[in-house]
């Protein structure tokens, strides 16, 4: 089936990166099964939702907003962007396919913290099957940084603060950017509530245990035990509150 070009792909040079990786396939990522669904939710404009990008196997086709998928973005690393839960045969970067894994035991799949220049300073995986190695997580963090920045330019009105929420078929990605440019984003189960509060709590932990540590160099990866310990506690508390376990 011919792939339909995805209009974002024409705009984002960052995605050219993936053109060269079409043929690679990485084992360990879940395989595509059925139709993907994804939506971007921009900060101020809830009406500007990019509707589902469907692949050729989907029974229903046609997009209300005329977005098109492209084969340049069909590479697994691109689509495995969000926590390794995705896989690609034919899909665009913001569409995902449901994985064959059972993820229902955790509310949060992974947490990323990136500094104002887009470098990854903290990455923690909470049991998703798509565990990434350091290089992949670094690459994906800078990709998210770019997408976040580009979304601000896409906004039809000035004053957009970037992407708050990315919803896919089997996960949500909540992002919080502080006024200083540090971004905290968490990949979690669809519909997991109160993620924004969790992100604020993690921001407070960052200010307490990372920034107040005189030996922590700013913008560098966080290597503070107190931060890790308290973060684990907050996540655990959140998990207990949400799931009762």
């Amino acid at each position: 089936m011919p792939h339909r070009p995805f209009f974002f792909g024409h705009i984002f040079p960052a995605f050219d990166y993936f053109k060269n990786r079409v043929a690679t396939r990485q084992s360990g990522y879940p395989r595509a099964a059925c139709s993907p669904r994804a939506a971007f939710v921009l900060h101020q404009e809830p009406a500007h939702v990019v509707r589902p990008l469907r692949d050729s196997q989907s029974p229903t086709r046609g997009d209300p907003v005329g977005v098109r998928t492209t084969d340049v973005i069909s590479s697994p690393p691109a689509v495995s962007f969000l926590g390794g839960l995705l896989s690609a045969d034919t899909l665009s970067i913001i569409s995902t396919s449901p994985s064959c894994l059972t993820m229902a035991t955790v509310a949060i799949y992974s947490l990323f913290i990136i500094n104002k220049s887009g470098g990854l300073i903290h990455y923690k995986d909470y049991g998703s099957a798509g565990r990434m190695d350091t290089n992949d997580s670094l690459r994906l963090a800078s990709l998210w940084h770019s997408m976040h920045a580009i979304s601000q330019q896409l906004s039809p009105t000035p004053g957009c603060n970037g992407i708050d929420l990315l919803q896919a078929h089997n996960f949500d990605l909540h992002c919080f950017q502080s006024l200083t440019g540090t971004k905290f984003f968490v990949v979690c189960e669809t519909g997991a509530p109160n993620m924004e509060f969790l992100l604020r709590a993690i921001y407070e932990l960052y200010t307490e245990f990372a920034l107040k540590n005189p030996f922590y160099e700013m913008e560098m990866p966080i290597r503070c035990e107190l931060f890790d310990f308290n973060l684990a506690q907050v996540i655990q508390k959140d998990r207990v509150a949400l799931l009762g376990r």
Binding site: S178, L179, T180, G181, Y203
Partner: protein
């Protein structure tokens, strides 16, 4: 993201952070200044060091302030100055400053402090007359504002240790440089 809860008032903020004995704070700061004077001997050098220390503190402090106070983006520099004076100073020093002397363009203002916990019990000797004892505060403001993409210059206008009636620092916004993604169409 808009703030999730209503921004707190200065008093509520001050009550919500952990506080330390004011004398301990004053004495620690005094010890730092004394040690710098002994090590560097030159008053100008000490001023510069204090400013640099303040800058380093400010870059880290601003995130804590933003996290705890839950303020949203300020519309203009006037709002920024008000936020610093009412919330920032209150949260970290326990005193509020007043903002006065706005210039015509709205880019320069003065923070006036009647009460300054750094200088309790301090009297400047004649040998240190050029010393800006509270220079760390100007560094803190400069560092903090730089992290939210505002370049400023901060100078001391009035200093009670030198015989004036209050502490006044003049803050001038030189440049506002929002972080821009270096995206080009012709890439």
């Amino acid at each position: 993201m808009p703030p999730l809860t209503t921004p707190k008032s200065g008093d509520a903020l001050f009550a919500s952070v952990e506080r330390v004995n004011a004398e301990l704070f004053t004495l620690t700061y005094g010890a730092i200044v004394r040690q710098l004077l002994t090590d560097l001997e030159e008053v100008e050098e000490v001023n510069k060091q204090l400013d640099q220390m303040g800058y380093n503190i400010g870059t880290r402090l601003v995130d804590e302030f933003l996290a705890k106070s839950n303020v949203s983006t300020c519309v203009d520099f006037k709002e920024t100055a008000d936020t610093i004076a009412k919330l920032g100073f209150k949260m970290f020093l326990g005193v509020t400053a007043t903002v006065t002397n706005w210039d015509a363009e709205g880019t320069t203002c003065s923070f006036v402090l009647e009460d300054n916990p750094l200088v309790d019990f301090v009297e400047l000797p004649d040998t240190c007359q050029g010393l800006q004892y509270c220079n760390v505060l100007s560094g803190v403001i400069r560092g903090a504002l730089e992290m939210v993409s505002m370049k400023t210059e901060v100078t001391w206008v009035r200093d009670m240790l030198r015989g004036d009636d209050a502490y006044e620092m003049r803050v001038k916004l030189t440049k506002q440089v929002p972080e821009e993604y270096p995206y080009k169409d012709d890439d």
